[in-house]
Symmetry: C2
Subunit: 219 residues, 2 copies
Amino acid sequence: MISQAVQDYLKSIYKLQQENPDDSVSTTDIAKDLDVSGASVTGMIKRLDTMGMVDYSSYKGVKLTEKGEKVALEIIRFHRLIETYLKEMLGFPLDKIHDEACRLEHHISEEFIERINKLLGEPKFDPHGHPIPSKDGTIIEYEEKPLSEIEPGGEYYISRLSDTDQKLLAYLELMNLMPNIKIKVIDKAPFKGPITISYNGSEKIIGNEVASNIFVKIQ
Amino acid sequence: MISQAVQDYLKSIYKLQQENPDDSVSTTDIAKDLDVSGASVTGMIKRLDTMGMVDYSSYKGVKLTEKGEKVALEIIRFHRLIETYLKEMLGFPLDKIHDEACRLEHHISEEFIERINKLLGEPKFDPHGHPIPSKDGTIIEYEEKPLSEIEPGGEYYISRLSDTDQKLLAYLELMNLMPNIKIKVIDKAPFKGPITISYNGSEKIIGNEVASNIFVKIQ
DNA sequence: CAATAAAATTAATCAAATCTAAATATTTTT
DNA sequence: AAAAATATTTAGATTTGATTAATTTTATTG
Ligand SMILES: [Mn+2]
Ligand SMILES: [Mn+2]
Ligand SMILES: [Mn+2]
Ligand SMILES: [Mn+2]
């Protein structure tokens, strides 16, 4: 059996690799992401290497092997299906689903996942707008940009909300700024100033910080 | 935080205590129930004692303290609500719910439990017929007897199915021998022979072994 | 009531994950 | 290119939960 710790490391490495696909992932980045010491990361990385989950050489960082990536994608699939289920079927608020899913992802069975996947109608995106990997590990990719970098003018669809700050997510849900909402930038004040947007038939003003956590689909 | 291991020990001690309320629970019985070595049990018991979860003195076995019992009942509440949820909302077969619940009980939040409790309509019994402890730790008790000890004649309601043998549970579900079904013993062959029963408008013959895993409510 | 069997505890190890402090390698700056 | 700063690894310890083997305590029985 693959322990929870191993699963969390693989998930973290996958995430960091996505953010920076060219470089290999550094110990320090993993340590920061998982909030553990650098020494712990070195120790675990060596084990992952002997398990064939990552390629590692001293002082050079790691890269997931095909095997490691497969495991990571499986956990991410679990995580995102659970998030979707918590929101859609149990009525959890948007800011509570991540933490719950992050625990459950390590403990539910294939059978459980298959059942909720069916009940949900095999969804392709979770409530944050994250794509849900298919069972064979393929994952939808598309181009997006933070709303804070969009010039006033065209219309866009919200594709994704950053899920790092749960307080912010609660605010976005309250404002009904959710994936798939059609949105238009009316005005953008200079020097990271407030941004005027129009959606759902009304105008709102949000801060640049907030807008930088909302991503819209490009073309 | 109370670890999964600690939770499982407390649950096991609670169960063994119920089976034999007068004696204190022996190390060997816990070891058998949890499938660990006796030495492991001695080690854990000492920790539980210093945590104030059990009263323990060397060579004399353990008894749950009020604190320990409260924790045990909380986990049992979680376990049984999850079982009910897996059956009622996700359509799990009766023989698959125990193992899944036994893992999840340690990892779901109060919030999750409260939500499924509401959605299920605050059920009082799980699919095996086990009473679900209330949030404050009270638990319904009633008298019951194995069907194998019932003499032909009166009518009874199935109260509970033993959940130790999952294969047997699958058979019972197939036969529609489930809690709350009205049942009548028509004939009982001697020397632990087959038992003829009537329920749901038809007659069936089951083995004594099977009947000893079906419990009916007394009066 | 002593001999034997069974139950329980102790002692010594192990593995997984973590940590801090010290040492070493790499990168950046002057 | 040497010095300084940063990143990474090593060494040594800790905690939790488990093991086997040896010892001690309790229970049984002739
Ligand atoms: Mn997780
Ligand atoms: Mn998500
Ligand atoms: Mn359990
Ligand atoms: Mn049950």
